[in-house]
Each structure stands twice: as structure tokens, then as C-alpha cells.
């Protein structure tokens, strides 16, 4: 019932398998599914995508294990520095960044294109965990408490990313940051005031301030690469793909929607619809449930964290993974509008895989040093 026991437990015993098993399961599903998405009947030479994802997966695990061994307090101590460096990289993108798909998001590092806005999410989580754990807010945070974390720590990267323009990632930065603030607790009066302001402002603008073409422009601003026809096309095709999976799906590499004429982004943003088509309700539900289990495991890790910073860190990472999944799957199954947000652990992408695994590594580090009741 005390610390001596913690000392004696071995490495494998100290890992939280409730957390790692859903993670491994999701990655397994991801790899199988990506193979299908990149090896259509009509495709040649797509092994490159698949193999590079395996490469990033292996690297991701190395990062994960490294993060597990290093005490997360070390990262929290360096949080400001890491945050500042990443913010500099974000600014560098504005000047030296590679323009792709109409936005400037990538830094070309030779062997791969690095997207600083992706790792910025993690930096915000770390720096917020550090700042907010230093004080306690028994009555919730007031206006003064909120000013620094909200306007500076979240606000600066938000505006830089929105400027790129990558409104999808900017929105994620805001949502993740706000989730942590909300978790720490904000005074009810402020919450009510902010909600009211948001609702009144947005509805007022929507109904009175904006003309049709302006609303239209907002849609295209969020994702400038898709014209309305293309957007409708993707949404419809995605729904057809998901629905046509029925109970058990069409079978591995048998999805007609994904294998034939379908979305160009099926290995990234629409990866979930490939899964739903080929593995049906059974596979789709299993995946969502596994995501759910992963989140529950993370919530448990947060509850058992040895300090406030560890708890906030875990909550932040969980919020990040949760909202990504929420928006991505919500979009694929037609509950939310089309936004270019990847599905963590399943979508193809090196930057995303590395940051996700680094973030989960931090959680693992918290869990490794957890307080046992």
C-alpha cells in the first residue's frame, strides 16, 4: 500500500494495459484499413504510402517508449521553451513554408514535410498543464485568471494558424485549449456570459449580418480546396460508402465505393468510410467502442495521476484525440459539415502519427508514475 511496491514492479507490469491494448487495436485496424485504401484494384505504385505509414508507426512507437521513460515533469519544466520554439516554427512557415493545397502549412525538412501546427496542439496542452496546475481555483477561474492562458497561450497560435489559412487546425487549437480550461473550471457567470455572447453574436451575424454569398464564402474559407459541388459530392459518396457496408460489410478490399470511383482523400480524411464500407456496422461500431475504451483508460490515468499537472496533461491529450475523432467521424457519417481533420491513429500522415504517439507517450509517462490508491 505504499511507494515501495511501485518500485518493485517491472516495466511491463507498470504499463497500463487498459490504455495500451485499445491503442494497439486501433493501430492494427488502421494499418489493415490503410492497406485496403491504398491498394485499390485500379491502382499501381501505392505501396509507397502504405510503407511510409509503417515507417512512421515504428518511429511513433520509439517516441512513445522514450516519452514513457522520461518523467513528464521534465517536459513541463521545459514547456515554455518547447512552446516558444514551436511558435517560432509556426511563424517560420509563414515566410519559408511550402504552399500546398492553397495554404502554407508545411516546412520542408528534406526527408519529410513537417507541419508545426500539428505539434503546436501538444505544446499548448503542455504549457496549459504547467500554468494551470500551479494555482488552484476553488471558485473556478475568473476573468483575470483566464486572460493569459486564453488570449496569449491559445490565442497567438490560433491566429497564426488561422492566418495560414488553416482554419481547421486553428479551430482544433481553440477547442483543445478551451477543453482544458473548462475542465479546470471556469466561473459559472463567465461561462454563461460567454455562451450567451457566442449564441447571440453567431445567430445575429448569420441571419442579419451575412448575405448568402458571404455564408458561402465562410464555407469555402474553412476549406478552400473544395467547391460546393465537390463538397456535396464527398459528403454524399461518404454516406453511400458507410451505409452500403450494412451489418458485416462488403469484406476486406471489396468496397466498391472506396476501390472504384471515390474520394481522392480516402486514405486521409475519409479513412473511416473505407472501414465502414468494408467491415460494416460491426467494424465501425467496434472501432468507435475501442476509441471509447481508450478515452476511458485515459480518464482513469488522469484520475490516478500523482499531481495536477499530470492530470491536466492527460486530459488535454484525451481532449485532442477525442475532438479529432468526434469531428472526423461526425463528418464521415454525415452529422457534421466537411472539414479537413484527420482521424488519429487511422489516417495516413507522418506529422500526425508522430505527434499523436508523442502525446500518448506523455500520458503513458503519467500512468507510469501514477499514484496507487
Amino acid at each position: 500500500m505504499n511507494g515501495f511496491q511501485i518500485e518493485e514492479r517491472g516495466f511491463f507490469k507498470k504499463l497500463d494495459w487498459n490504455f495500451i491494448i485499445p491503442l494497439l487495436l486501433l493501430q492494427f485496424i488502421g494499418i489493415i484499413n490503410l492497406y485496403s485504401a491504398t491498394h485499390g484494384v485500379a491502382e499501381i505504385e501505392t505501396d509507397r504510402l502504405f510503407l511510409s505509414q509503417i515507417f512512421w508507426l515504428v518511429n511513433g512507437w520509439m517516441v512513445f517508449i522514450f516519452m514513457t521513460f522520461v518523467d513528464y515533469q521534465f517536459f513541463l519544466r521545459a514547456a515554455y521553451l518547447i512552446y516558444a520554439l514551436n511558435a517560432l516554427a509556426l511563424i517560420a512557415v509563414m515566410f519559408f513554408g511550402k504552399v500546398a493545397l492553397g495554404a502554407q502549412r508545411w516546412l520542408d525538412l528534406g526527408f519529410f514535410s513537417y507541419q508545426p501546427s500539428e505539434s503546436m496542439k501538444l505544446c499548448i496542452i503542455m504549457v496549459l498543464a504547467k500554468v494551470l496546475s500551479q494555482k488552484s481555483y476553488p471558485d473556478g477561474m475568473g476573468v483575470k485568471d483566464l486572460a493569459f492562458p486564453l488570449l496569449i497561450l491559445i490565442g497567438v497560435p490560433f491566429f497564426i494558424t488561422a492566418e495560414q489559412p488553416d482554419l481547421g487546425t486553428a479551430m482544433m487549437i481553440l477547442i483543445i485549449g478551451s477543453s482544458i480550461l473548462f475542465f479546470v473550471r471556469i466561473r459559472r457567470s463567465i461561462l454563461i456570459a460567454m455562451t450567451a455572447l457566442l449564441v447571440v453574436g453567431a445567430t445575429g451575424a448569420w441571419f442579419f449580418g451575412l448575405r448568402d454569398y458571404q455564408k458561402h464564402r465562410i464555407y469555402t474559407f474553412i476549406d478552400p480546396n473544395q467547391d460546393p459541388r465537390g463538397k456535396g459530392y464527398n459528403s454524399i459518396q461518404s454516406k453511400i460508402a458507410v451505409g452500403s457496408g450494412q451489418m458485416l460489410g462488403k469484406g476486406f478490399r471489396k468496397g466498391t465505393q472506396s476501390q472504384l470511383e471515390f474520394l481522392p482523400e480516402r486514405h486521409t480524411d475519409f479513412i473511416y468510410s473505407v472501414l465502414s464500407e468494408e467491415f460494416g456496422f460491426f467494424g465501425s461500431f467496434f472501432t468507435i467502442a475501442t476509441f471509447g475504451l481508450l478515452y476511458l483508460a485515459m480518464l482513469r490515468i488522469a484520475q490516478q495521476a500523482r499531481d495536477k499537472a499530470g492530470a491536466l496533461l492527460t486530459i488535454g491529450v484525451m481532449a485532442s484525440l477525442f475532438w479529432h475523432m468526434f469531428i472526423n467521424i461526425g463528418m464521415v457519417i454525415g452529422l457534421l459539415p466537411i472539414v479537413g481533420i484527420p482521424l488519429p491513429l487511422l489516417s495516413y500522415g507522418g506529422s500526425n502519427m508522430l505527434t499523436t504517439m508523442a502525446a500518448l507517450g506523455l500520458v503513458s509517462s503519467v500512468s507510469y508514475r501514477k499514484y496507487l490508491f
Binding site: 511507494g3 456535396g232 456496422f281 500523482r306
Partner: protein, 663 residues
């Protein structure tokens, strides 16, 4: 315990009430998503399954016709013709190898070539783009494919628009041609045009030379899209079980490109080309109105741009590239040559403007001039005797201009020739214009690293040495002499019209600078222009004019012949017959000028490569262009005979007076 755990362990518990909310959120989300999946996959699943198997949506590009190019009077110069192409949609093909075999057999091409096309398109455009296998189908091709379509899925015949050039070889380098966007160009083009909202695919047409390239953004329209439901084999299907297609179906029509009205006159263009053909000439020619509107633009030998529209064969392409006569080059602006004697009027202008000679100064012109240790020859062995400046132009005396060059020096020659536009781009809208070169002492010091030699003044004065120019540049300079001062900016597009023929933009003539402007840096007096013009008139109309053979009865042309040496020869070779030499050692012939001589309306520049003489090689082209111009715009003149009414006044001081300048 406290040595292992930080002191704020209890504080972490402050958060405990907050977790309930998080658990709820996760549970709620899993629940909602599951219900939605249930709704889509179980409740609507059967219907959507059917939909996915029988129907999918296929987008087909409707290519936009490019704008039509008209001449100044509305005659069609470049247009579009309907054609047919056969395409293959790989995603609907059940067995690619078999289909490729069948297609190859039907179209008379190797099956491996079909496979190559498909793989190339996949690499570049992804797997869902239909691949053009062959265009410009013949009637037989269409019949064969129609039969084949029954047995092989994914094969389609589509209507296309073919770019057509009714003038064929005539002006091909000027109009340019269209080609398909290649794999290598694709990323570059997309980067370049992403700001303009244009996205290219491999196989899209793009203007790759001449006007087609320069005005590509105007000429290219916006491709349309037709969206249709097709079954899993690519055949059009009907029915819309869930109303999913709704507004998606249907067609966005292609918007044709903008039309161009050129300054070109088709008849003059044809006349110029015919005269190149008849004389079997190589070279370039332009004619322009004195305000800068180009009337004709010819470069020979040429090629047929229609061949490019249907995909040029590698064989023909290789032949064009390797042809020593350079048919792909736009010679009026891309060939560099020394102007030879056509440069003399420019030097005459400089000499008179700088007062190193007067219209009445008589200069002794023997057969050669010794300068330093070198003997500078005249092309006439015996020399021209004692002559004034107008006679020097008429007879093209070298020695006279050697002396002028010596008196002026390079700085002054540079000043005026640069002012006349030598060594400067004219600014015409066509791509690839070369600037030519007007040398100067600082230029030589900088690029070659040597001092200017006084002997070089003599070479420059007769248009040799470093001087390089092209027919358009020379025509602009002569035009400035003809209209007494104004350097105009030549242009070829008069109006840009929307596809329903509303005027969108009109190009106005522009004067770049006026050499006669008394407050400008040149302030050349009117009398100076008048004297040079008289000399140029005599070249064609005088008793001993070098271009007398190209005289027209009803209009007085003015101009100057010239030859440009392709290589240097020793003194005795100079007088040898040019025609006796191998073709590629023969001189180039020039003829530059304007008409009518007193009050010009049209200026021209002709370069006839390897033609030995300007008078026989180049002047007939100018004559043909001027004749076509008069026939069209001043038919009443055709009745005149100026030779009777207007006796050539000759030089003002034909008799040698006492002030003969000796050596």
C-alpha cells in the same frame, strides 16, 4: 510516501467532480455515433448498398473551346473544329490487358502503347481519370470502337474540339500552337496559375508558342463538367433511390475562351507568304502600319500547326527541331543578324543630326579606305566617285559611311541608334523576342574587357562588327525615319472580345519616344529626316538605286537593301560570286523600308537568309506586301503611274562642286 510523490497529490483530487462530465461526453458520443451508424448501415443499408453497386457518380470534363482569332477585318485566322476521341476509364475495365489488346488492334497501335498511356495517366492524374487513347478519330476508327464498346467496358467515344489553323504553314510561328500539358509541366503550371484559380490536368490543352502561348489566359475558356450517374461498369444509369443526387446531377456548360481581333491583314499575310514560297526563301518578314499595328508576320520555312493539335508524331518533331533552317524559330524577332547596309540610313541620320556632314557636302568615295594598317573595301571595286549623302544611301557606298563612322565615333552612333531602338526589345506581345545589340565602348569594356578600337567605328557604320538586330526592330527604326521621329510600340492584338463578341479590351497605338521632340535628348530636326528619306526614296526610285528592280509604278516605296555576312572572307573572296558558295556560307539579304516614300502608311522589314542580296532576296517580299496593301486599301492608286508624272529629282547637288572632301 512523500519522498516518491509530490506534495500536491491531494490537489489532483480537486478535479474529481469534473470527471463525471468527461465520462458522460465519451459515453454520449459513442451512443450517438452508434445510432447514426445503425440508421445508415442497418435501416438504410440495403438501399444504399444497392445504390453503391448500381450507381455512382461520374464527372466528365467538357472541354471549353478556345477563343477564335480573327484578322483586322474579321477573317478567321485560327478556329476550332469538332472531332472525336476515344477514352478509357480504367476503373470500369474488367481486364486491362485484354482491353488494351482490343483497342490496339482497332486503332492500329501497339497494345503496350495503350498500357503505357494508362499507367502514365494513373501516375499523374490518379486512377479515376479517363485516359485519352487517341483523338482525331477517322470514320473507320469510330466504327471499330463502336463495335468494340459492346464487349469491353470503360471504353468511350467523346466529342472534342480540335484547334484548326486554316492558314496552315503561313504564320505558324506567329500564331503558335497548342499542346497537351505534360507530366513535367504539370506541377509548375499549377503552382504558377493557382492564384488565378486554374487547375491543370495532364492532357489539358495549353498554348505552347506564339500568340496561343502569349494570350493563353484569354484564349482558354473554362471547362465544363457533366455529372451523371453511372453503374459499376461506367454506363449511364437512371433512377435516384434516395434523392441523394438532387442538385448534383446535370451539366455545367463549358465557357468558351475570349476571341481576339488582330491587327493582321489576312491578304497581306498571304501575299508575304506567297512571295516567300515562290522565291523558295528562308527568313522572316513583317509589315506594320506606321502606328505600330502589325499587318503581316511571316517566318519561313514553316510547319503546319494543325499537326500539333492532333498530337505531333515524334518523328516530325525531331525533323523540325533538327532542320538547319530552323522552322520553329520566329525569325522576325528571334533571329539575330548584323544589319549590314540597312544600318547606313541610321548612321546618315546621326551624321546629319550631329552636323559632321551636310546634305550638300560632297565626299570622295574611292574603292577602298586605308585606316591604320588596314584597308577597308567598298563593295564596288572602283568606288563611287564624289557623292553627297543621298547618293551614298542610294548606291550604298561603304567608304562614305566609313568616313561618317570615323567622324561620329561610337558614343554618338550609340546615342542615335539606341534612340532608334537598336538593341532594345520593341515590346511586341509575342514571347521570345530578342533584344539585339547596339555596341558601345562601355559595353565592350564590360563584357569583353577590351578598349574600343577606332577601326570598329568603321565596321559599325556599315552595320557590321557587333551590331545585331532583327527585321521587326529595323522596321520600327525605319518607321521612325519615315514618320519623322516617332518610335512606336508594335502590337498584334487590336481587341479582345468576350465569347459573345463584346469588346473587353482595346489596345491603343503607343509612341515610345519621339526623336524629333525638341526638348528630348535627340531633338533631330525635320530637315534631317527629309534628307535621309530622300536617300531612301532614291534606293528604289533613283537611277542607280540598289533596289530599283522592285519599283512599283503606282506607289513610291522607300527602303534600303543590305547584306549580312554569314562568315568573313578575304579581300579577293569578297568580290567572288555569292551564289557560287555553298548555301550556308551565302550572305543574308535585307530589305527594310516604308511606303509611300513621302508620307508613309506602312513600314516593313524583310530578312532573306542565305539569299546573297537584299535586292533580289528580300525586296520582292516587301514589294508583294506593299502591292497587297495598296490593292486593298487604296485601289484607286493602282491607276497611277508616278514614273511619268514625277520625275525623280535626283540628288540636290548632283554635279560635284568645288568643296569636294579629299582623303
Amino acid at each position: 510516501m512523500s519522498q516518491y510523490l509530490p506534495s500536491n497529490e491531494m490537489e489532483a483530487k480537486q478535479y474529481h467532480p469534473r470527471y463525471r462530465l468527461a465520462y458522460l461526453l465519451v459515453g454520449f458520443t459513442v451512443l450517438v455515433f452508434s445510432f447514426r451508424l445503425w440508421y445508415l448501415q442497418i435501416i438504410n443499408g440495403a438501399e444504399l448498398r444497392q445504390f453503391s453497386e448500381q450507381n455512382s457518380i461520374k464527372e466528365t470534363k467538357i472541354p471549353a473551346p478556345r477563343g477564335i482569332i480573327y484578322d483586322r477585318n474579321g477573317e478567321v485566322l485560327v478556329e476550332n473544329l469538332p472531332g472525336f476521341e476515344v477514352t478509357l476509364s480504367p476503373q470500369y475495365v474488367s481486364n486491362l490487358e485484354e482491353t488494351a489488346e482490343a483497342l490496339g488492334a482497332a486503332l492500329n497501335m501497339p497494345a503496350s502503347y495503350v498500357m503505357q498511356l494508362v499507367q502514365k495517366s494513373r501516375r499523374v492524374n490518379g486512377p479515376f481519370r479517363s485516359v485519352r487513347i487517341k483523338d482525331n478519330l477517322t470514320r473507320d476508327d469510330i466504327f471499330n470502337i463502336e463495335v468494340l464498346k459492346q464487349d469491353y467496358t470503360g471504353v468511350d467515344i467523346k466529342e472534342t474540339v480540335l484547334r484548326a489553323y486554316p492558314l496552315h504553314e503561313n504564320g505558324a510561328q506567329f500564331f503558335g500552337y497548342v499542346g497537351e500539358v505534360s507530366k513535367r509541366q504539370l506541377p509548375l503550371l499549377n503552382e504558377k496559375f493557382s492564384a488565378k484559380g486554374i487547375k491543370f490536368q495532364q492532357g489539358d490543352l495549353i498554348g505552347t508558342s506564339g500568340l496561343e502561348e502569349g494570350y493563353d489566359l484569354e484564349l482558354r475558356g473554362k471547362d465544363g463538367i457533366s455529372v451523371a450517374q453511372v453503374d459499376a461498369h461506367g454506363r449511364e444509369a437512371f433512377g435516384d433511390p434516395m434523392g441523394l443526387l438532387g442538385s448534383m446531377g446535370g451539366v455545367t456548360q463549358a465557357a468558351p475562351g475570349r476571341n481576339l481581333i488582330l491587327t493582321i491583314d489576312k491578304d497581306i499575310q498571304e501575299a508575304a507568304w506567297q512571295s516567300f514560297l515562290e522565291g523558295n526563301r528562308i527568313g522572316g518578314a513583317i509589315a506594320m502600319k506606321t502606328n505600330g499595328e502589325i499587318l503581316a508576320w511571316v517566318s519561313a520555312p514553316s510547319f503546319d500547326p494543325n499537326e500539333f493539335s492532333t498530337g505531333i508524331s515524334p518523328d516530325l518533331w525531331r525533323r523540325l527541331v533538327n532542320d538547319p533552317d530552323k522552322p520553329l524559330r520566329n525569325k522576325p524577332i528571334q533571329d539575330h543578324n548584323s544589319p549590314g547596309s540597312t544600318f547606313k540610313p541610321l548612321i546618315a541620320l546621326a551624321s546629319l543630326a550631329e552636323n559632321v556632314v551636310t546634305p550638300n557636302t560632297v565626299v570622295a568615295c574611292p574603292g577602298a579606305l586605308r585606316f591604320g594598317s588596314r584597308l577597308y573595301h567598298d563593295h564596288l571595286k572602283g568606288g563611287h566617285g564624289n557623292i553627297v549623302i543621298t547618293q551614298a544611301i542610294e548606291r550604298s557606298s561603304n567608304v562614305f559611311f566609313y568616313k561618317m563612322g570615323d567622324r561620329l565615333g561610337i558614343d554618338k552612333m550609340f546615342h542615335y541608334c539606341d534612340g532608334l531602338g537598336i538593341g532594345r526589345r520593341t515590346g511586341v506581345e509575342l514571347g521570345g523576342e530578342r533584344s539585339g545589340l547596339m555596341p558601345s565602348a562601355p559595353w565592350k569594356k564590360e563584357t569583353i574587357g577590351e578598349e574600343w578600337q577606332l577601326g570598329e567605328n568603321l565596321s559599325v557604320a556599315i552595320g557590321q562588327g557587333f551590331v545585331l538586330t532583327n527585321p521587326l526592330q529595323m522596321a520600327v527604326a525605319y518607321n521612325a525615319i519615315g514618320n519623322e521621329g516617332k518610335i512606336v510600340k508594335p502590337f498584334v492584338v487590336k481587341r479582345i472580345l468576350s465569347n459573345d463578341n463584346k469588346v473587353l479590351r482595346e489596345n491603343e497605338p503607343q509612341v515610345v519616344r519621339d526623336l524629333a521632340d525638341p526638348s528630348g535628348p535627340y531633338h533631330v530636326k525635320k530637315e534631317v529626316f527629309k534628307t535621309v528619306k530622300e536617300g531612301l526614296r532614291l534606293v528604289v526610285n533613283g537611277e542607280r538605286g540598289t533596289a530599283r528592280g522592285s519599283r512599283l509604278a503606282y506607289i513610291e516605296m522607300a527602303g534600303k537593301t543590305g547584306t549580312s555576312q554569314v562568315m568573313s572572307f578575304s579581300a579577293d573572296q569578297i568580290y567572288g560570286s555569292c551564289e557560287a558558295r555553298p548555301k550556308y556560307q551565302r550572305h543574308h539579304g535585307w530589305f527594310i523600308g516604308y511606303a509611300p516614300a513621302d508620307n508613309p502608311e506602312i513600314a516593313f522589314g524583310v530578312l532573306a537568309e542565305h539569299a546573297c542580296h537584299g535586292a533580289s532576296g528580300a525586296a520582292p517580299v516587301a514589294k508583294a506586301m506593299v502591292a497587297a496593301y495598296v490593292a486593298k486599301y487604296h485601289p484607286e492608286w493602282l491607276e497611277r503611274d508616278l514614273r511619268k508624272t514625277k520625275k525623280a529629282p535626283g540628288a540636290p547637288a548632283a554635279e560635284p562642286s568645288s568643296n569636294i572632301e579629299g582623303e
